[in-house]
């Protein structure tokens, strides 16, 4: 081979190596879910893997069985973010809390288009609306509850919660909002919504994970009991009933040590409690004992999220499978009959009913 041929060969090889990576703007799709009957639209927030930024939003219509995945990304051409924690609807707008992106996206629930954002916050978890102009946001790390205006999306204040970190879910009784504090905590906080002040604390048990209020104004929480070696303690998990008026724990339903109850939910009438403890369990709010048998048995599934449609009382169960692939959602009737199943996004964690 002569020199020229070598050089030509070299240039040809180099040229063959060059190529462009496919990366850049994403297309936007137009959606219009139109008018939907109450309960005939279910948003599923898929957390995605921590630090992957692959959270997504799915939309399901029970009447047709149709499901659209990644609707946020498809409608807006941007990522939803890292760890979609929860979604709450107010006045045809969906407020999606994206925990590790520190942002709340506000979308039109018909078109899924972004209409506003709230943040950045520290590590937001859940939203509770008090009025058209006032809402609370809890936080995993910030020992304050953030107040924002849902009309202007502006942060209007903070409530100091006396050093309690990891404020989680909220329920309201009268003018008081009750907040469970989960990580290394054992407390339900009581916030006066007129003064925006912490006014009381209720000790329930180690690490209350979730919170609901029933039709008798009893507040229910479920604790996970910590773990072996936990400096905060380790005890049997419990389901606790709190009287909202007197703010006292009326009853503790203890689980076995090592059980992993979570995701306490209540039906639309406020009469039936549901929770995950490997399987799905159901008990009436007036029952005196924990149920003996599961309502829906797990069959090798990894139930991760649970939601009850307040309109139909259908039960939605999320299976995260191996946490690295799109999960499954199973829809059961209130009598425990499987009605439908469909695939959503990675780690489906919570449901929001239109």
């Amino acid at each position: 081979m002569n020199f020229t041929r070598h050089v030509i060969l070299l240039i040809a090889l180099c040229a063959g190596m060059c190529s462009c990576m496919k990366y850049g703007p994403m297309d936007e799709e137009n959606f219009d879910a139109g008018e939907v009957l109450p309960g005939d639209g279910v948003f599923i927030t898929n957390e995605g893997n921590f630090a992957y930024g692959n959270a997504s939003l799915s939309f399901y219509r029970p009447s047709t069985g149709s499901v659209e995945n990644e609707v946020f990304i498809r409608a807006n051409g941007i990522n939803l973010g890292d760890v979609a924690q929860s979604m709450t609807i107010r006045d045809d707008r969906g407020f999606i809390v994206v925990n590790n992106s520190s942002i709340i996206f506000v979308i039109d629930i018909h078109t899924f288009k972004v209409v506003g954002t709230v943040g950045p916050l520290t590590s937001p978890r859940y939203i509770h609306f008090l009025s058209d102009t006032k809402a609370y946001v809890t936080d995993l790390y910030d020992p304050r509850i953030t107040i924002f205006n849902p009309q202007t999306y502006e942060i209007t204040g903070r409530i100091d919660v006396a050093g309690h970190r990891s404020t989680e879910q909220m329920v309201q009784y009268d003018r008081y909002v009750f907040v469970n504090c989960w990580s290394y905590d054992n407390t339900i906080l009581v916030i006066d919504t007129e003064k925006d002040e912490l006014v009381d604390e209720i000790e329930v048990g180690i690490q209350p994970t979730s919170l609901v209020i029933d039709k008798y104004n009893k507040i229910w929480t479920i604790t996970d009991g910590g773990y072996e070696g936990n400096p905060y303690g380790y005890e049997a998990p419990a389901l606790c009933r709190i009287d909202a008026e007197t703010r006292t724990v009326e009853r503790r339903f203890a689980f076995r040590q090592g059980d992993t109850p979570s995701e306490l939910c209540i039906d639309g009438e406020g009469g039936k409690l549901y929770f995950i403890n490997k399987s799905i369990w159901c008990m009436g709010v007036t029952d005196e004992y924990l149920p003996l048998r599961p309502f829906i048995e797990d069959q090798g599934t990894l139930f991760y999220g649970l939601g009850i449609n307040p309109a139909s009382s259908d039960i939605y169960i999320a299976d995260a499978i191996d946490y690295q692939q799109p999960g499954m959602v199973y829809r059961y009737s209130s009598s425990g009959t499987l009605l439908d199943s469909f695939r959503v996004g990675i780690i489906p964690g919570s449901f929001c009913f239109r």
Binding site: M17, M21, K22, V114, G300, A320, G327
Partner: protein, 685 residues
């Protein structure tokens, strides 16, 4: 004559990159070893071995390179990297980072807590020899290399007298690299001191297509948007490495070596491009201080070698997450710290019974002491308690090996390894090797090997708080290799050497961390993985006249790494699918064109699409990463003055200014530039 030709060719090409070798004589000596390796008959020690030896062309390419860049560019190993000075882990033949065992001067580098090695913490200028042992071949080095092993080491300079080399690099984003090596050599004592310091703001600008900046009217209605142009947030780093080596020839065929390597590093962990926090209201930072020391005694004779090694590793690794909690200053939300102390000892010997038989035996021990803590805030007053574990574990490994070459063409070998961790023993790890020289003219050598292997759980797997699972079993693997190595145009001005290997391995009880309902993760033995594929590498060398030279090194890998575990549930679609982040195809080519004192280097690197879901979803906008193509170029000019040698180098990375993510939501730098100056003063001998 052939050796002479090869030697001249290699000197010409390699001379440019042969840092640490201040004179031409030393360059010649350094590369004469290579030329012998290429042309000599296949040595008994390497019967059936699937090895990749990284030469100084790769190791000394650029002072900014860590071993992550070197491995990614020059070998079939896939490096998952988040950018410069961020975690870089290896996948060898489609396995997990903990399945690649790494040693430095014989001592394990894998973290006893995590099982893996962060290759971004190893500057390539601190490594003099780097060899990859693929699949079954790794059993001869260590156990647990279900993918393979990477053996790194230092070695003494060849020449006597004082030598100094200083390299300074200035690059985009306020990046500064400083490297200094001072050597001294006498008949018996050789000393080398290396210092490397790198710092950077690493705040490259990029258009963030994963966010939009919305514009609102007075009624809070969105009236427009744009993609924000952001800077890489929280990516600043500064790394310092200091390495002192002493080599002493004690006479009577005894040699003593000592190497001490200190690393001090502070690195920001860059924020995701979907993170809306402001940089000054949040901080993720990792601080590491590591001291590694090894010493060895070697006794060489014609027919046997004895060696004793010792070592010690200390690591203090701290991760903190600071965030806005309403106060003026950032508050510490997460504080994780771990201390690792490891003592190491090894004794081994090799004995040549005859020119056809060789027996090897060695036994090594690593005693780990690990304290891993997380400061948890357990009261409303901010009082903290430590969550974690404090454990010690002894790990021992023994090898017996017999190698036999009954004829010049045939070679056979068997390795038997036994390992102990804590009070547990792995079953016997056997490995068998054979090779056959098909053609002497073309150096066509056929190689085959098979091995069973085990990797035991790490201390985090067993004891991490919360989530550690002390009932984990060791991972088990069986691997088969078959390959052919050849050379075309041997002895000619243009020649090509290559090697192609097919591999097939199965791993059971693969350990995977999964979330629990309590909000933490726990490891479980779940996966069965079938990994198979092809590895190919080749080197083309050409020379025209006295002035021109060309060398091209290429590698290619086809890797199928498929999950065949039991389905997690009936909806599990991951069975039979490629593991997350493992590319099916990867390739790298490095071309060096030399003309007189000039050297043009072009590097191209490719990974095929990588899935980020275990079910390999394709109908998704966020579940996969597009194929990766990277082009880097540099031009270097060497000058020789009476006082010493000087060289100037200008490098352009990401030549085509690609906008991309190599890992989901982690933006990468666009085109960037570096200028290097290298000084090598001459000293009288």
């Amino acid at each position: 004559m052939k050796k002479l030709f090869l030697f001249v060719t290699l000197c010409s090409v390699y001379g440019w990159a042969a840092l640490g070798q201040p004179t031409e004589d030393s360059v010649r000596r350094a590369y004469r070893i290579d030329s012998v390796v290429v042309t000599a008959r296949h040595i008994l020690r390497d019967v059936g071995a699937q090895k990749t030896v990284l030469d100084s062309v790769a190791l000394r390419d650029n002072v900014t390179n860590s071993m992550a860049e070197v491995l990614s560019q020059n070998t079939s190993i896939f490096i998952k990297s988040y950018g410069r000075a961020t975690l870089a882990t290896a996948s060898f033949r489609g396995t997990a980072p903990s399945h690649t065992q790494v040693t430095w001067n014989g001592m394990k580098m894998n973290s006893p807590m995590l099982g893996m090695v962060d290759f971004s913490m190893i500057p390539s200028y601190f490594i003099d020899d780097a060899t990859l042992y693929h699949g079954a071949t790794s059993v001869g080095v260590t156990g647990g290399g279900l993918g393979g092993a990477v053996v790194l080491s230092t070695k003494p300079v060849v020449e006597n007298g004082v030598g100094v080399r200083y390299v300074q690099g200035i690059g985009s984003y306020d990046t500064y690299d400083e490297f200094l090596r001072v050597t001294y050599g006498s008949a018996r004592l050789k000393s080398s001191t290396r210092l490397y310091y790198a710092s950077s703001d690493n705040d490259f600008e990029y258009t963030n297509y994963r966010k939009k900046l919305y514009q609102y009217d007075d009624n809070n209605q969105i009236v427009g948007w744009s993609y924000p142009v952001e800077r890489n947030k929280n990516g600043a780093f500064r790394d310092m490495h200091l390495l002192q080596e002493l080599y002493y020839d004690a006479g009577k065929d005894n040699r003593l070596n000592l190497a001490v390597w200190y690393t001090g590093s502070r690195r920001g962990i860059p924020m995701l491009n979907v993170d809306y926090r402001e940089e000054n209201r949040s901080k993720n930072q990792q601080d590491e201080q590591t001291l590694r020391a090894t010493f060895s005694w070697d006794h060489y004779r014609d027919d046997y070698k004895l060696s004793a090694n010792g070592g010690y590793t200390y690591t203090d690794l701290k991760y903190v997450y600071l965030s806005d909690a309403g106060e003026a200053t950032l508050q510490e939300m997460i504080h994780s710290q771990s201390y690792v102390n490891t003592a190491y000892a090894r004794f081994g010997g090799e004995y040549y019974l005859s020119s056809a038989w060789m027996v090897t035996g060695n036994i090594s021990a690593h005693q780990h002491f690990v304290k891993s803590t997380d400061r948890a805030i357990v009261t409303n007053n901010g009082e903290k308690a430590l969550v974690g574990y404090d454990k010690a574990r002894l790990e021992m490994s023994a090898l017996a090996s017999v190698k036999y070459r009954p004829t010049e063409r045939w070679g056979l070998a068997v390795n038997l390894r036994e390992e102990m961790y804590g009070t547990e023993w792995t079953p016997l790890i056997p490995a068998f090797f054979a090779d056959y020289l098909l053609s002497k003219r073309g150096d066509v050598l056929l190689k085959a090997s098979v091995a069973r292997n085990f990797r035991y759980p790490t201390l985090n797997d067993l004891y991490f708080m919360p989530g550690g699972n002390d009932s984990l079993r060791a991972e088990k693997g069986v691997t088969y290799d078959f390959g052919v190595k050849f050379m075309l145009g041997k002895g000619r001005k243009t020649n090509f050497s290559g090697e192609v290997t097919a591999f097939n391995s199965r791993i059971r009880d693969w350990i995977v961390w999964l979330p629990t309902f309590k909000g933490f993760w726990t490891p479980v033995n779940v996966k069965k993985v079938h990994s198979y594929g092809l590895e190919a590498k080749g080197t083309l060398q050409a020379r025209w006249g006295r002035a021109w030279s060309l060398r091209m090194d290429g590698n290619f890998a086809w890797t199928r790494s498929l999950n065949y575990g039991d389905p997690a549930s009936w909806g599990d679609r991951s069975i039979g699918k490629q593991l997350v982040y493992i590319p099916e195809y990867s390739a790298g080519v490095t071309g060096k064109l030399g003309w007189k004192q000039w050297m043009l280097t072009y590097k191209w690197n490719y990974y095929s699409e990588r899935f980020t879901t275990s079910s390999n979803e394709t109908a998704t906008k966020i579940g996969r990463l597009a194929p990766y193509y990277m082009n880097d170029i540099s031009l270097e000019r060497a000058f020789r003055f009476s006082f010493g040698g000087v060289s100037l180098k200008f490098a352009v990375n990401n030549l085509f200014n690609e906008e991309y993510e190599s890992v989901l939501s982690h933006p990468m730098a666009g085109r960037n530039y570096s200028l290097f100056i290298e000084l090598r003063p001459f000293f009288k001998k």
